[in-house]
Symmetry: C2
Subunit: 174 residues, 2 copies
DNA sequence: TCAAACCTATCTATCAGTAGATAGATTTGA
DNA sequence: TCAAATCTATCTACTGATAGATAGGTTTGA
């Protein structure tokens, strides 16, 4: 573990739990136990639960942005492919929901600062898809694509069938 | 209110709260207060929280099935339109998430019986779309359509922009 | 140089409030 | 009369949050 700073360990534990059970589904004590410190020490790094969740959403967004890179110089269709890969990895590697997908579904029960951070995540993806070079003929609306990916995650996980993610994600045709 | 049975009043209150804050975002005390009884009386009707949530998901599914009707005799494209209307009403009339969309996102943090009831909801919609007469040329995969609707609900609500639901839902083109 | 002052990160202990759940008495209404 | 429904009262466990103490590291300044 290379003696990672406690703050990062807390965020890692919180991300796992939040992506499993949502904002109300984990506690400071859970995280403290995960990391091996006391819950009061978690409060030292994040005074309130809202502070923690906002930091969580901002880190999540930052990582996505770094992984996606700048869209303008991508090959046609590559932007959409990179966004898809983001969500596919959430399903197949993390075996978890998208943090902001889950938080977004709980939006009206979140501290406003957290809801704002979640909205910024969605804006980032929509803006990225909008600016990335389009691939030929059929170009899906950014909002439609993002919605499909979030929903596909929910469907595939609930029905316990990863192939449903591909079915929901495959280029459409009849 | 016509002196509705307490059981139904409890389910109504629970549905509102669950569709706002998720499974871990409401309590027996919340519901008791909403209905105007004691929390122990809520336990009389639903021994455990899991029992309550399962009943909630099953009632939600039953109502959707009743509203959708039998798909075989519908006009082409009407099945998809009815499913879309279901989700549009959740956004514009209820101003809430789809119960099973939110529960589905929390699947790994739910009692198994609740997760099973949520899966049944998704199977119902997928089966309905599969059996409904298709409209002409471009027919979206049922899983893709359902995923898009659940995701569109999340997007439109988080970004506080109902038009995003339409953007994510409109027939695709480029 | 070296001690006073400060900073960081953690601890112990505690708080008021709430969680889901239960036992047993009481009310209600057909 | 009797069962359904609700109540009072309570339990144990946990919630987010705070106060105050402590140990160790770093900075400051005479």
């Amino acid at each position: 573990m290379l003696d990672q700073p406690a703050r990062d360990q807390i965020l890692d534990a919180a991300e796992k739990r939040a992506r499993t059970a949502g904002y109300h589904g984990f506690s400071f004590r859970d995280l403290a136990e995960d990391v091996g410190i006391k819950s009061s020490s978690v409060h030292y790094h994040f005074p309130t639960k809202g502070d923690l969740a906002e930091a969580l959403a901002r880190r999540y967004t930052k990582r996505a942005a770094e992984r996606l890179g700048e869209p303008h110089s991508l090959a046609p269709g590559e932007g959409a492919a990179r966004v898809s890969a983001l969500f596919r990895d959430a399903l197949l590697i993390d075996d978890r929901m998208c943090l902001c997908g889950l938080f977004g579904a709980e939006r009206d029960a979140l501290p406003p600062s957290v809801a704002a951070a979640v909205a910024d995540f969605f804006r980032l993806i929509l803006d990225y898809l909008d600016r990335a070079p389009k691939a030929g003929e059929r170009n899906e609306e950014p909002a439609a694509m993002l919605a499909r990916l979030e929903g596909a995650l929910i469907l595939a996980r609930t029905l316990n069938d990863p192939s449903l993610f591909e079915a929901a994600t495959a280029t459409q045709a009849a």
